[in-house]
Symmetry: C2
Subunit: 623 residues, 2 copies
């Protein structure tokens, strides 16, 4: 391990370097001792060195550093003012390589230099050095106003980073700052791509003094800055980008290093990556993170999946940065092996799609069925929150409804064409591949798809003028109950999918713990979720809970009334409808699927089972 | 090309062989001339040859055949009584190799042998030969009672097969017989697998005299029997089995040979296979075939996709075996390139899923809402057929409702747990991957999934006792209209998916032609489909047709009434419901997706568009 203590003349590089080397019991070297005589003379005469003068000196230092690295390591005091110089110094060093920059005011530097005796440096050069110096993004920077002991302790504490993070998008930046806030020393890396040239520098420049973050645009340097075995979070777009980052990282990783994918990767990809990387000795964890930008910054809900022993290495970090539940426990729990963390996050997002659509339908019913304006709808929603039916999504809906720009309601100006990213559709694709029904989620995804056909809808809207009744007789109170019931069914569907997938794959996911870590930090946090965290401790599923059952039965007539009214009044409420259809079907011992089996046997000889026939299959000649 | 004219002594092998060789202008050889003298003496003395005697003789013949094949080919007269002998003869022959067996009654054979002069064969051996001979499945067999000219003409006509078929499952057998009925000479192949040892033999044994089908359990022999370039239908389970068959076929194929996958393969697999095989010089066509066993046997609807020039080679076969529409045109049309044939078949099946579910819901409403018994329901459905709303599925539903076993209705004894194969789920997966909504189809697939949870439903049914109204006020006539409307919406959704997929992939699928070939032969043939074949000639989509629009508006109130009644009476009707929700949404210029966009921008900074903002995207600070 090599420490370079850097800074302008008079910053105390030698003093600190010697003290640090003593403490670490490794040799100390003063870079100035490696100058050719010509350089020393030049400096003594007050002539600044030029880059041509410095090159052989820096190369000589680098050659020596490579040798020191092979032995016990070393502390080197060296000005290293510019990135060009530092590149020469770091060339071929295998690491760890810790950069420490000593930084102080011009006044303090001058004062210290004037007090020196017998030193060949001319104080007149200070101005030149201060003009030249460019502090790197990746160094530890320490204020020289501190005492030497304080400075050395600080270097010792922060000599290598606890955790690395790749990808300084919105979510990556927020997670890095969240970790730095909690006192973790973080290394961050972002590629230098068009439009992203200054992303690392800008991020480091904006740090608060207490945030220990080092920024890299070189992957090997980034990896060298990390404690071993390395723990590296990647936060990039799902899909190819994840594989690209992994591939570019691999050459610099050693056996036992850990990559944690905190993006929204598909759980099957995560399973595959875990397996493939394990073969190369690299640990991999797929980890769901929910809460948007704000959640990531101040406390998300975290769903880590992978090897439980390896997870222990990052557990303190994840638990500290996560949101906290009502009992101050972290909204972060080990989910299970392989892709289980990303699976649970996918279903979280699926539930979210349906919850958003249910609220949109409630808003539409109030607007078109109950002729309420935005303020009235917001007021009504607030009473729902007060009565214990609150949720993050409902809260932001209230804010959205009240939001005005230039005196008019912003919501009314927004195009009714919903976008989507992958996770909602992934949930539905999973449903159809696995045979696990996700009706509310699928219908919500399709509602967005239909909404996206805005031009076609406009055309069809002018072609068709379908007659509708205007006497909507359900009340806002009944609508509240209808929404509550639809929400309960939607949660049942989501948790059932987790239960079934976990059973099939031996993941052993704890439904109650999953609900608990969703009580804060994530987008679907709600009062209902808090209740589910308790209920699912003893109940096999959401609808199996006695508490839920009572509420379902209470709200049942209201949902039916709202839906039949909406149908007669031509108000589309696809997800609320689907939730009722699902409830009617799943609580119905007898469905008309016997006719479907008969049809299949009739035209395709697919056979059927009998109510009284056990597991036997029958075929009839129907004609 | 080598012809082997075979049969017992006295069957006329030499006479026919010489005549055939003259006609084909190739040499004739008599196998007996190749016997070692020892064999000849043995035969003259009336001692039957044993297999040890025959071996050198057959090997010598085979050696000569390999040489003849290199020149002009030849006709060989040879008894070839047993498969062991034939294997030696065929060993290493590149083909074509045509086997002709002359077959006659014992009386006729004796009569002819007694009339012979100067022949060294002893008539006493006839019995031994008749006991020994095993006719192969793969030969052309001709009755010696015919005149020599007739026999030679028959051999000339059927010397190699028009088309080959691999996979003698239910659908494969039916297609092969259908082709043979239409006068095509067909070679069929099936692997010899446990439980399938006699499948080829059983199939050939059961043929009618007019059906020219040759059966193989050897792939190279099968390929050799086909006209060049070869046209080979494969009819095996979708997935790995298709690739396995292709891989095992490839070594025997030549450039320009064509494989036609008539199974229910995924259209993306078909696209990939078309591309991969083209690189190896092999043509590939994915072709949808609908109609079940009966359709395949007597006239299916056929949806060929692939290279249009290559398609011309099999077009006469496909058009002749397909069902015919009302104007006697074949229910077979070139769909488009790549996987388009299988795509269209997939959507056909998706529509079918929803149609079956809609009928099941109608049955359930009549049973539970209108308290009708099976006979009354069947009577009611018959009036629907009479009034012009008929379909194949409705017709078989009537038969199913009336079907009794031991005095009780069979339908009532069938377990209400619907099975499914791949295509329905594939349609839905496609919907979610592509963003093209397939609401009715997805809901129908999920209805089957929910039905399959029979044990869970039973448990939940005893847990929940949800109150429902009993006064169902919609009439059977209104239900008929409701079903009609749901069906129209379902067809709109299906045809829209074909239109969009075709547009995205430049397939140029003709919607009207697609509807036309679905008017007969396939499972979703109906009176509505006949109308759509006409309407889609000028209309961009189903709901855009003025004829459809009129019927939609006529039926709209009935659907709403049936659904609101069903909801209040606790009768699940998920697909009818979804069809209304879709209709309400797609004809609605304004949907509440603006709220969803605001929520997404609020928590995830996903931005939104404005009604007045063109293509620009906006982000607001909502707090």
């Amino acid at each position: 391990m090599i420490f370079i203590v850097a800074g302008v003349s008079g910053s105390g590089k030698s003093t600190i370097g010697i003290k640090l080397a003593e403490k670490l019991k490794i040799p100390f070297y003063d870079g100035d001792d490696f100058h050719p005589e010509a350089n020393k003379a030049k400096m003594k005469s007050g002539t600044p060195l030029n880059d041509e003068d410095r090159k052989p000196w820096l190369e000589n230092l680098n050659k020596n550093m490579r040798e020191w690295e092979q032995k016990k390591g070393a502390v080197l005091a060296c000005s290293a003012l510019k990135e060009d110089y530092r590149e020469i110094l770091a060339n071929g060093i295998r690491g760890p390589l810790v950069w420490v920059f000593l930084k102080g005011t011009k006044e303090l530097l001058q004062e210290r230099m004037e007090a020196r005796k017998g030193h060949f440096f001319s104080p007149a050069l200070l101005d030149s050095q201060l003009q030249t110096i460019v502090y790197p993004t990746y160094s530890l920077t320490v204020d020289i106003a501190l005492s030497p002991d304080q400075i050395v302790n600080k270097i010792m504490e922060n000599s290598s980073s606890e955790i690395g993070l790749i990808g300084l998008g919105v979510m990556g930046r927020s997670l890095a700052l969240n970790m730095a806030d909690k006192g973790f020393v973080v290394s961050v890396y972002n590629r230098v791509a068009p439009g992203e040239e200054t992303i690392v520098k800008d991020f480091i420049d904006a740090l608060e003094p207490n945030q220990q973050v080092r920024g890299y645009t070189s992957l090997p340097d980034f990896v060298k800055s990390l404690k071993k075995p390395a723990n590296i979070i990647i936060m990039v777009s799902a899909g190819k980008a994840v594989d690209q980052v992994i591939e570019s990282l691999k050459p610099y990783l050693a056996s036992g290093d850990l990559i944690i994918d905190c993006g929204n990767s598909h759980f099957e990809d995560t399973g595959l990556r875990t397996k493939t990387l394990a073969e190369a000795g690299i640990e991999f964890m797929g980890t769901g993170v929910s809460g948007g930008e704000k959640g990531a910054r101040f406390g998300p809900s975290i769903m880590p999946g992978g090897n439980p022993t390896i997870y222990k290495r990052v557990q303190p970090v994840f638990e500290q940065i996560s949101a906290k539940d009502e009992d101050k426990n972290p909204c972060c729990t080990y989910i299970g092996p392989e892709g289980s963390g990303h699976f649970v996050k996918m279903i979280h997002n699926g539930i979210e799609y349906a919850e958003m659509q249910i609220l949109a339908e409630a808003y539409f019913v109030m607007k078109n069925g109950l002729a309420m304006n935005n303020e009235q709808i917001a007021d009504e929603f607030e009473t729902w929150i007060e009565s214990g039916q609150g949720s993050y999504l409902l809260e932001i809906t209230v804010s959205i409804l009240r939001k005005k720009e230039k005196g008019t309601y912003l919501l009314d100006a927004i195009l009714d064409k919903a976008g989507q990213k992958g996770t909602g559709s992934w949930s539905s694709e999973f449903a159809f591949r696995s045979g696990i029904p996700l009706n509310t989620i699928s219908e919500a995804v399709q509602a967005r798809q239909v909404s996206a056909l805005k031009n076609y809808r406009t055309k069809m809207g002018s072609l068709y003028s379908l007659s509708g009744e205007s006497n909507f007789s359900a009340t806002a109170k009944e609508l509240q109950q209808a929404v509550y019931l639809a929400t309960m069914v939607n949660h049942h569907i989501g948790f059932s999918a987790i239960k079934e997938a976990s059973k099939e794959r031996d993941w052993n996911v704890d439904l109650s713990e999953t609900a608990r870590i969703w009580t804060n930090g994530c987008i679907i946090r709600s009062e209902l979720m808090k209740k589910l965290a308790l209920e699912l401790q003893n109940s096999e599923g959401v609808l199996e809970s006695a508490w839920i059952k009572e509420r379902v039965e209470d709200s049942f007539e209201s949902l039916k009334k709202v839906l039949s009214n909406s149908i007669l009044s031509n108000i589309p409420t696809p997800v609320m409808n689907t939730s009722l259809q699902y409830l009617l079907s799943i609580t119905n011992e007898r469905l008309p699927a016997n006719l479907i089996q008969a049809q299949r046997d009739y035209f395709g000889a697919h056979t059927y089972q009998r109510l009284d026939g056990g597991d036997e299959f029958f075929h009839s000649n129907w004609e």
